[in-house]
């Protein structure tokens, strides 16, 4: 089975929505934690972040991203890089999730 890479990236991003930030209570894609997803001949390379470098949830998030991406048909291997450059900002959250977190209009 073969997939167009662009289509596969979209499927991976959709699959990553099963991973949530436990504290903010939303999936990490809408929270803006996923910085980049690339696919190269079935090998997925994902660059992601978390709210706090030392947070005990960070390693679980990284493992969760690898697990969910690996379940996507067409993905043979997954490589996840956790980075804190640039640091995550609340402005990276998607507008719909922002309103559910009670963000003020001015912010």
């Amino acid at each position: 089975m073969t997939f167009n890479d662009e289509d596969l990236v979209a499927r991976i991003k959709q699959a990553l929505k099963v991973v949530i930030d436990p504290e903010l209570g939303h999936n990490i894609v809408d929270l803006g934690f996923i910085y980049d997803v690339q696919v190269d001949d079935g090998a997925a390379h994902i660059t992601m972040t978390a709210t706090t470098r030392g947070c005990p949830a960070a390693s679980f998030l990284k493992d969760g991203v690898a697990s969910s991406a690996r379940l996507v048909p067409g993905v043979d291997s997954v490589d996840v890089t956790m980075t804190f450059e640039p640091p995550w900002q609340p402005s990276m959250i998607s507008p719909g999730v922002r309103s559910s977190l009670g963000f003020a209009e001015v912010n």
């Binding site: 949530i20 709210t51 609340p90």
Partner: protein, 448 residues
């Protein structure tokens, strides 16, 4: 380093601490110790140490074992030291309390109970300080909140040293007999270093990071917390160094305490300004119960600062110091701790239960482990009871104080049930509660 691991015994620290809190509250309700007995008497010392060591210090040690690695993004230096430290603290406190009871003639105990209990406690705190100190040392230069923790660790060393010396004096040993005036002049230093330095200063530092995290407020400015830290360190240094010098020369203690008090007020004012700034710049408008209740606890701290200044100005400090200490210990510190346990316990439970299966199956949110509307009434009762109890002490109404503490105890029991429900995943709706691969957490120990 990315992420820190769960500390296995943190939940055990919390459980032991809550048991001591409930026991202390029960003793107050039945009229044991102040105000029914002398504020400096052995029975009062039992209750005071049950709250300050059994409850506040134990819960703070547990929280720091999990949170200091988060603050400095380094692993805890030695997780294997955490259980022996808990055992030493618990055993040491039990022996110390037996020593106080014997001192008050409640039973015919040997005189070595106090120094042995103090020695065990010093050993326990030494393990805690060494573990957290080495963790901080590996992360120099320290971020702002971690500096407060370092200051707090220095203060628990001073508190424990004075406590150890007191035990030698009170038990009538030959060594203690060399310092007959130590108790009179040293108690303020012991109390300031413990309540002000170890408990309050550490809690202030940790709250900078926690409040910023929970409110999604920007806390990257290096100036944030600097004045509060500098003024706080000045207050503690003047209070401790000045106090020890005054002890040595047997004069000038009041001047040292007055200067320390002024610097402490400046530190608290700067801290209040910083918290307001975090609150105003927060991105998350809808605050969760833990953050809202932390802010209520901070209001108690502000009230305690104003009460302390008023008592000093009117010359009523020594006659009402009990009310001030109660407001600091319950309205501020206990309120802040309970508010944060309401987040920390479900969060650690979530990580332990759902972290390992994340990405493979849908998982609930941390918020799904709690029922905020149900818990709110317990927090309202807790703070109303704490403030009422403080007023009753100010009005010298002993029975009213005991009734108000009974309300505080009821609230503590209610919140304890909430914590147990979170550990039991009792409020998580099916089918998310225990997905394939997830294991039910133990009540008192974490799997890590």
């Amino acid at each position: 380093m990315i992420g820190t691991s769960l500390c296995k015994w943190v939940i055990s620290y919390f459980a032991v601490a809550i048991a001591w809190l409930l026991l202390a509250e029960a003793l107050i309700v039945i009229g044991f110790g102040f105000p029914n007995h002398d504020i400096g008497g052995p029975d009062t010392l039992v209750v005071v140490h049950m709250v300050s060591i059994g409850w506040l210090s134990t819960v703070l040690c547990g929280a720091l074992f999990q949170f200091v690695p988060v603050l400095v993004a380094r692993p805890l230096y030695a997780e294997r030291w955490t259980l022996p430290a808990l055992a030493l603290l618990t055993l040491g406190l039990t022996v110390l309390l037996a020593g106080f009871l014997a001192l008050g003639g409640r039973f015919n105990g040997p005189p070595w109970l106090l120094p042995v209990g103090a020695g065990l406690l010093i050993a326990g705190f030494a393990l805690v300080v060494a573990n957290l100190g080495m963790t901080l040392w590996s992360a120099r230069p320290l971020p702002g909140p971690a500096r407060f923790v370092a200051g707090g660790l220095a203060c628990i060393c001073v508190t424990a040293t004075f406590g150890g010396l007191f035990s030698l004096v009170l038990s009538g040993t030959a060594i203690g007999a060399q310092w007959p005036d130590l108790l009179v002049s040293g108690v303020p230093i012991h109390a300031i270093a413990g309540l002000g330095g170890w408990l309050t200063f550490t809690a202030m530092g940790v709250s900078y990071r926690l409040l910023a995290m929970f409110m999604l407020a920007p806390d990257g400015d290096a100036r944030l917390g600097r004045l509060a830290w500098l003024a706080g360190i000045a207050a503690l240094a003047v209070g401790l160094v000045g106090g020890v010098l005054a002890l040595w020369r047997m004069t000038g203690l009041n001047l040292a305490l007055l200067l320390a008090g002024a610097a402490a007020l400046l530190s608290l004012a700067a801290y209040g300004r910083d918290v307001l700034s975090l609150y105003r710049t927060r991105k998350r408008r809808a605050l969760e119960l833990n953050t809202g209740m932390s802010l209520v606890a901070l209001a108690s701290l502000a009230a305690a600062a104003m009460l302390g200044a008023t008592l000093l100005a009117t010359g009523a400090f020594s006659s009402h110091v009990g009310a001030l200490v109660f407001l600091v210990a319950f309205g501020w510190l206990t309120g802040l701790v309970l508010a944060n346990l309401y987040k920390i316990v479900p969060f650690l439970t979530w990580l332990e239960t759902y972290g390992p299966v994340m990405g493979r199956v849908p998982t609930p949110r941390v918020q799904d482990l709690v029922a905020e509307r149900r818990a709110l009434k317990w927090f309202v009762l807790f703070f109303a009871g704490s403030w009422a109890a403080t007023l009753m002490l100010l009005f010298d109404t002993a029975l009213g104080f005991r009734i108000a503490v009974a309300v505080v105890m009821l609230a503590t029991l209610g919140l304890s049930e909430e914590f147990i429900r979170a550990r039991r995943l009792a409020d998580v709706a099916e089918p998310l509660r225990l997905p394939t691969g997830a294991a039910m957490p133990h009540l008192l120990v974490s799997r890590n």
